[in-house]
Subunit: 249 residues, 2 copies
C-alpha cells in the first residue's frame, strides 16, 4: 500500500458564506477516491459558526465553571449551550449536542479574530456530505470527505487529529472474523480508519499559522459507506470510562 | 507539506533473533530523515517476547480477573506480570511496567502461533534506538524509528495506531507560544507527532493477514530529539481520567 498526502497551498482566509468546494476545486486537481480532509475551523467559518463573546450572557453556573477553569464565563456559557453532558469539570470535558466527547465542546479561540469564538459545525457529517456532493458537482470526481479537529486523549500528553464528520468513507472497518497470518480469526479489531486518516492529515496541516487547513490523501483503499462518524461514538453504557466520569462529576 | 507513505513488501515471518534492520535494508532503499515505522509485533518476535501459555501458572487473582473477562487465566497472569497498576478490571486496562496505559498490557494473541502470546518489547524506546543505530550502521542513512501498537480509546469505538517507542524524532512538538493566523499565541497545543505518524502508518499496515509490519513515511519535516515516547505518558497527578479510574477500581 502506498499513499501520498499533501496540504493544499493558497487557501485564503475563510469567511462566512465561502464555498469551500469551489475554492478547493480552483486550487488542485482532484482524483476519484481522494480523501479530502478539511480542518473543521474553515468549515465552521464558512458555515457562520463564529460567535461574538460580547453577545453572550453567562449564567451563574457558567460563572462557577469559568472560575474553576480560569476562563471567560461567556466562553464557558457558549460551551454549555453546545453540550448535553458534563463528563469532567476541569478541564471542561463534555458530550456535545452532536454526540462526540471533547474539551470545551470543540470551541476554538485560536485562528479566529479577537473577541470571537468558533464552534464545531452544527452537524459535521452533514457538512461533509455537502462538501462531497458539491465537489462532485464541480469536478465530476467522487471523493471522500473528512472533517477534523485536534483533540487531547486520556493517559497521553498532547493532541492528535480526529474525525468529527465524514462522508463517502466508512469511519470504521470491522475486521472481526478476518484471519490473521496464522489463520486465526480476529476477535475484537475494528480499525478506526477515519480517525487514522484524520491524524495523518492533521500532522501535515499543523496548528498555528501554517495556513493549510486542507489536506488530500491519495491512493488509500478504503471502504465506502454513508453512515458518517456517528457509529464511532460509544454509548454511555458501553463506555466504562464515561460511566466512571459521569459518576464522579 | 507533502509526504509519501508506503508499506514494505517481502517481510518474512519474523522469529526470535532476526535482525529486522538487516531484513529491511535488504528490501528497500532508505533515505535520510525517513520515518521508519515498525509494528511492535515483529519487534516483539525478534526480541523473543513470545511466551508459551502452558508455562504460566495463574494466581487466584488472575483466575478471578479471567472469569470477569472471560479469558484464559494464564493470559491474565502474564498481563499482571507486565503491569504496575490496574485502572479498569473489565476490560483489563493497566499501566505497564514500561509506563504506557493499554488494555491487557498490549499482550497479543493474533499474528502469533496458537498457544503462544506476545508481549510489548521490554523497553520500546530502547528497541527503537537500537533499530535506528543498526539501520545507520547498515545503510549510512539517519532515519527516525517509531514502534507502534494498535490501541482502543476512551469515548470512541475502534482502535488506532499509537507509538509505544521512538528514536530520532521528537514525540511531542510543543506549539505553546507560537502565533496563530491572527497573531495570538497558542496556549495549550502540543502536537503528538509520533502518535499521528503511528496512526498514519498503522492505517497502511492493517491488522490481519496483510503481512506488512513495516511502513515508511517520507518527506515529513519533524523535530529531532532522543527522549523517546516516555514524555508522552501522563503522570497520575495530571491525568484526571486515570485518577477517576484508580478510585473506582
Ligand atoms: N488558509 C487558511 N488557513 C486556516 C484558516 N483557519 C485555520 N487555518 C489553518 O488550518 C490549520 C488548522 O488550524 P487549527 O486552528 O488547528 O484548526 P482545527 O484543528 O480545525 O481546530 C492550520 O494550518 C491553520 O493555520 C483560514 O481561514 N485560512
Ligand atoms: N511479514 C510479516 N508480517 C507480520 C508479522 N507479524 C505481523 N505482521 C503484520 O503486521 C501488521 C500488524 O500486525 P498486528 O498483529 O496488528 O500488530 P500490532 O499492531 O503491532 O499488534 C499486519 O499487516 C500483520 O499481518 C510477521 O512476522 N511477518
Ligand atoms: Mn478546533
Ligand atoms: Mn488543529
Ligand atoms: Mn499489539
Ligand atoms: Mn495492529
Amino acid at each position: 500500500m502506498k499513499i501520498t498526502a499533501f496540504t493544499v497551498d493558497g487557501v485564503p482566509m475563510i469567511k462566512e458564506g465561502d464555498d469551500l468546494a469551489e475554492i478547493l476545486a480552483g486550487l488542485v486537481k482532484l482524483e476519484d477516491d481522494d480523501i479530502v480532509v478539511f480542518a473543521h475551523t474553515i468549515v465552521s467559518k464558512a458555515e457562520g459558526r463564529r460567535y461574538f463573546l460580547g453577545d453572550i450572557v453567562p449564567t451563574p453556573r457558567a460563572e462557577e465553571l469559568a472560575r474553576l477553569n480560569n476562563e471567560d464565563p461567556r466562553f464557558i456559557q457558549h460551551v454549555l449551550n453546545n453540550s448535553t453532558k458534563i463528563l469532567m469539570r476541569h478541564p471542561l470535558l463534555v458530550e456535545t449536542v452532536w454526540g462526540n466527547v471533547c474539551i470545551n465542546a470543540g470551541t476554538d479561540r485560536s485562528n479566529t479574530e479577537s473577541g470571537y469564538i468558533l464552534s464545531l459545525p452544527e452537524d459535521p457529517d452533514r457538512s461533509a456530505r455537502r462538501l462531497r456532493d458539491r465537489l462532485f458537482e464541480l469536478t465530476g470526481k467522487r471523493v471522500a470527505v473528512i472533517i477534523t479537529d485536534t483533540n487531547g486523549r486520556s493517559f497521553r500528553v498532547g493532541q492528535i487529529g480526529v474525525a468529527v464528520g465524514c462522508a463517502g468513507i466508512a469511519a470504521l472497518r470491522d475486521r472481526r472474523g478476518d484471519k490473521d497470518l496464522f489463520g486465526h480469526e480476529l476477535k475484537i479489531t475494528i480499525q478506526a480508519i477515519a480517525d487514522e486518516a484524520a491524524a495523518c492529515a492533521n500532522m501535515l496541516m499543523g496548528e498555528a499559522d501554517e495556513g493549510t487547513p486542507i489536506a488530500i490523501i491519495r491512493g488509500y483503499q478504503y471502504l465506502k459507506d454513508d453512515r458518517g462518524i456517528k457509529p464511532s461514538f460509544r454509548t454511555d453504557e458501553e463506555d466504562i470510562v464515561k460511566k466512571a466520569l459521569l459518576e464522579m462529576v
